[in-house]
Symmetry: C2
Subunit: 448 residues, 2 copies
Amino acid sequence: MATQALAAWTVSLSYPDLPEEVIHAAVRSFYNIAGCIVGGSEHPATTKARKALSPFSGPPTSHLLGTNTSTDAMHAALFNGIASHVHDYDDTHLDTIIHPTGPVACALLAIIPTLPRPVSGAEFITALVAGIEAECKIGLAVWPRHYDIGWHITSTTGSIGAAVAAAKLLSLETGQVAHAIGLAATQVTGLREMFGSHAKSFHPGMAAQNGLVAALLAREGFTSSVEALEAKRGWASVVCSGGNHRLEEEIAGLGERWEIVRDAFKPFPCGIVVHPVIDGCVWLHGELERVGVEVDDVEEVVVDVHPLVLELTGKTAPRDGLEAKFSVYHGGAVGLLLGKATPAQYEDDVVLDRRVVALRGRFRAVPDESLRADECHLVVKVRGGASIEKHIDYAVGSLERPMTNEQLTAKFVDQCVGILGEERTDKASEWCWGLEKQADISQIKEVL
Amino acid sequence: MATQALAAWTVSLSYPDLPEEVIHAAVRSFYNIAGCIVGGSEHPATTKARKALSPFSGPPTSHLLGTNTSTDAMHAALFNGIASHVHDYDDTHLDTIIHPTGPVACALLAIIPTLPRPVSGAEFITALVAGIEAECKIGLAVWPRHYDIGWHITSTTGSIGAAVAAAKLLSLETGQVAHAIGLAATQVTGLREMFGSHAKSFHPGMAAQNGLVAALLAREGFTSSVEALEAKRGWASVVCSGGNHRLEEEIAGLGERWEIVRDAFKPFPCGIVVHPVIDGCVWLHGELERVGVEVDDVEEVVVDVHPLVLELTGKTAPRDGLEAKFSVYHGGAVGLLLGKATPAQYEDDVVLDRRVVALRGRFRAVPDESLRADECHLVVKVRGGASIEKHIDYAVGSLERPMTNEQLTAKFVDQCVGILGEERTDKASEWCWGLEKQADISQIKEVL
């Protein structure tokens, strides 16, 4: 039932069905991921993949954001997908920790220029929402067991979301959409064991490509199981190792509880458990400035955090930017010393900078079961005996304190300006915020 | 350890290390799969995939066997891989029921024409053996739990085998091979739930493509986990749902017990549990002819089989060729009526033929726990009271009664002659049997 129900819901969804808050969330998701794709477009993971696979590329229909290059739709989905995730800076559906927008948006952006008609912002948003809802609902159905076993839930659900979105854009019939879902479901890409290597960002890229392939095959009558998700040995059962899943209930909730409005945006390019500490340290940076205390006069920073924070991000001496993402000490140190944590503060040379290393060494993290994972308490002890405290109840970027459009704009500009220059960045920002009213999404090639 | 050990073994393997029986087995594996790829080249699953994805294809370097068409290496791996498996007629590593040759051979054939040098038969055989050994060893490590959970073990191990083989051919260093293994391992394609649909043959095609992508990325320095197979949340653990696996032991046996010599070839295009019955019925067809009895005078055929045979292939009234593969009754009926079971006897019109349907209805299968799954007992009762019995201890195609080279040749010719014509088929057969001494494998384009 679930596979057919998801397919039927996908086909029936139309733009006028979308509540205003859903459209608003979709525009923000798109805006955020567009900046992330540009920001990741020159990362070594992205450029190595381009170099390795470009010799096999087909007609260059589809734009690689942040570059002057196009490639075929399959490779564009892959390369943009890698770029979208490589800085760990994309969006997060907090209930499942899926990063849902990358696989779906990259599949859509790749296939749009190959269609014989322009795709409007409204049509794009409808397909994007269909894909994101699909991902998050099936993710909720298998959470947390699926993730605990070791699957990277962003890509294992992402291929199905990308297939749903592409199928919507290709106007497939319900039966074809079901086959597309099955063909995506049988490609289960993404082991958590890959975290810390290039393969992590390869996952959402492949999810985008695999979903696209699934939809295109289904359009030609290529078949899969029509009970791919819910069968005894279907996707949900297999990726849960036979454990219980809640597929039917979650699919039944499509269009009733919208998941995209529960999608959050990262203010800092690292795992979200570090965000409260960075948020507090950025505030403390301003406070030290205000009271005229030099960071060199900080003797100790005591950070009370939920034990999970240290379990996931307890690296005290990261050796490069990739490792620094798993160091609450690094996040706190750059926040306190530099007042910000953007991808630039996760460059290798910053991670190894003398002052950053020294300040990291003065951080002491204390696990405290009484705190939530998205909460922290900070005490900065200054030479001479004074101290400044800060309690973060909810970090910026949480659902309780969502990033404002202004903050999203600053993040977008920070990622794009070094690549596009100021003038093009401002125009691109305006175009992306205006997604709803765009008549032809393939214009993104001129914009980003 | 296992990932590095497999990578190191791959790099160190050389043609002179291969025992004569391994080379012999490799030639037979290649010969058999080449015929299967040609035989599957015009199946709807193959042609639909070609139609759906060809618009995205890159430089046509790589030949699609059985056609006049070339495409880029990625798509060639996929399309040849689909064709290799679509008739369920490929090879079987009986200890794991992996069909190992398709993913590996299709990855190799696809990448060879893109290399700046000719690849000899000896080099091809070395890479093929490396890939097949890798697949079967890691398959043994997770068998049977992995299959029982619902994974199509041919493709879940096939991507890793294809990556190993491609990495060997690309002369990657040990560290790069390990990354290639990881990048293949994180792409876990293939749910058994897809059996009975086009997606089943999509699996080995994607395994070939995914393995190729993994090796090409690794060559450019794209990284994965270096403990991808054996880590706590690595491939073996995740695809066994955390159950025990025997990865270290199996990898330690590389080059000691060769798996390729335990690879069997299918005389009939369907699941191997049906083979004893078909084998017996083909013999009975000749016996009826010899004694001058018409098949229309057969009143009943009683077939004693292991209960598993009915569990897997108990369809009494298949509606098309795909369903007929899961009908021991159909296999028996065409064997008895027509004296053979090749892909032609699994065409839809044969499945629905009046005489075939009538004879199927006169079969009675009796589960018998005392028989092995590869054993059966047949009694044909003829009008007037006479009966003929046949006991099959081991079916043709089993390790105990392997197909002879002459039988493999007949199978090859049967698959190729309708597509290539007699003269080209005979030349192709000769060329493929001469694999060892070929100086340039890319000549296959002119041959098949």
